[in-house]
């Protein structure tokens, strides 16, 4: 790799000292006084301050100016004020809005639990920022065909923010799978929260 790809050496070209992320975003304290899990208030419509050098990698690691953000509470705090605007992921406080780069999905689902006591199985996920989501009509599963790595499952966390389901959990999902008739075709998928979430055509299961 070239030297310019290195996060630490990249800082050499960046004469401006790195601000602490707490101060990188004005109004953060006020924004996070709201209870967690709700996201930024829909009524906040602050000026757009462009993009900041913040990136969320596919494995859920957040980077600021090329260095990973190691403090989990800080990542949770940023995650709690994120929303999606068009194709863009933004962090929103009452006074400022900034765009961040998302490599795949903004969250990663790292744990799954299944409740089969009821006739209708419930599927719950915990994300890397400690949100929990129960799969239902408002928090659907969706499956996308990746460029090289087969099917990738996602679960909607809130708003239009999704969590990529960790690879290891995908196999647990497949193990839960069943075939149901939808329209004129048989589909392989997962039934949870009273709904069926199709993964692929039943005829394509071999490829999984």
């Amino acid at each position: 790799m070239q030297m310019s790809d290195s996060p630490t050496s990249k800082r050499e070209n960046n004469a401006e000292p790195m601000r602490a992320p707490e101060s990188a975003l004005r109004g953060l304290g006020e924004a996070t006084a709201r209870s967690r899990g709700l996201g930024p208030a829909p009524s906040w419509n602050p000026p757009d301050c462009g993009d900041i050098d913040m990136r969320i990698a596919a494995d859920g690691t957040w980077f600021y100016c090329g260095s990973p953000i190691g403090r989990a509470p800080l990542v949770q705090l940023f995650a709690s004020i994120m929303r999606k605007e068009g194709d863009r992921h933004v962090l929103v406080t009452p006074v400022e809005k900034v765009g961040v780069k998302v490599d795949d999905a903004p969250f990663l689902a790292v744990e799954m639990s299944i409740q089969t006591a009821t006739r209708d199985p419930q599927l719950m996920f915990r994300t890397n920022v400690d949100d929990t989501v129960t799969v239902d009509a408002e928090h659907p599963l969706r499956f996308e065909r990746g460029a090289s790595d087969g099917l990738k499952p996602y679960v909607k966390v809130r708003g239009d923010l999704w969590a990529l389901v960790k690879r290891a959990l995908f196999y647990d999902l497949v193990a839960l799978g069943r075939t149901e008739r939808a329209g004129s075709e048989d589909w392989f998928g997962v039934r949870a929260g009273g709904r069926f979430f199709p993964m692929c055509r039943a005829s394509e299961i071999e490829g999984l």
Partner: protein
Amino acid sequence: MSADLISDPSPASLRALARGKLRASLSLADLERAAPGAMSDDAPDGRLPEFAALGPLRPAAVLLPIVNRPFGLNVLLTLRASDLRAHSGQVAFPGGKIDAGETPREAALREAYEEVGLEERFIEPLGWLDPYFTGTGFRVAPLVALVEPSFVLTINKLEVDEVFETPFAFLMDAANHRLEEREWRGRRRKYYAMPHEGRYIWGATAGILRNLYEKLTS
């Protein structure tokens, strides 16, 4: 204590832990007298490799730099240049052989400066881990240090391809320590691996990090 290390480690808690758990000093004589520590190459399965067969082990020192970023502690690691003789293309700490007349501390600090341009004034040594014996013939003294983040690095491209940081909390979470196995020089060997964001941290580097984890959480 260990929960803190993982969820939100602070420089203050790390300093306090280091004071109680790490060796305050390590001389060259200490290093030369040391028996292979519990956490040397191949030790995860309880067996030690035949170090005697390797001939005399050469003394070396590494710096385990923990960068005190405003948003958390990160461990600074290097990707060694792909045309180096030993451990080329691998993830490593800054470090190398101890020169004649040098103390392990001097060697660790000199190597950190030579390889990545990290100046001593940013480095606050916290203490030593037990010597780590590598299957490639080194007895390594690891100096753990907190590093102030205002440094500017100059990378010596002859020795290092790249410098990157990995969250300390990730590396100190045992859930991320994978015990792997592979055939090497006619024998199955076990080693730790801690892959993160496309970086494959393994072998002696992962072993030394595992050693740090065990010391700090003991």
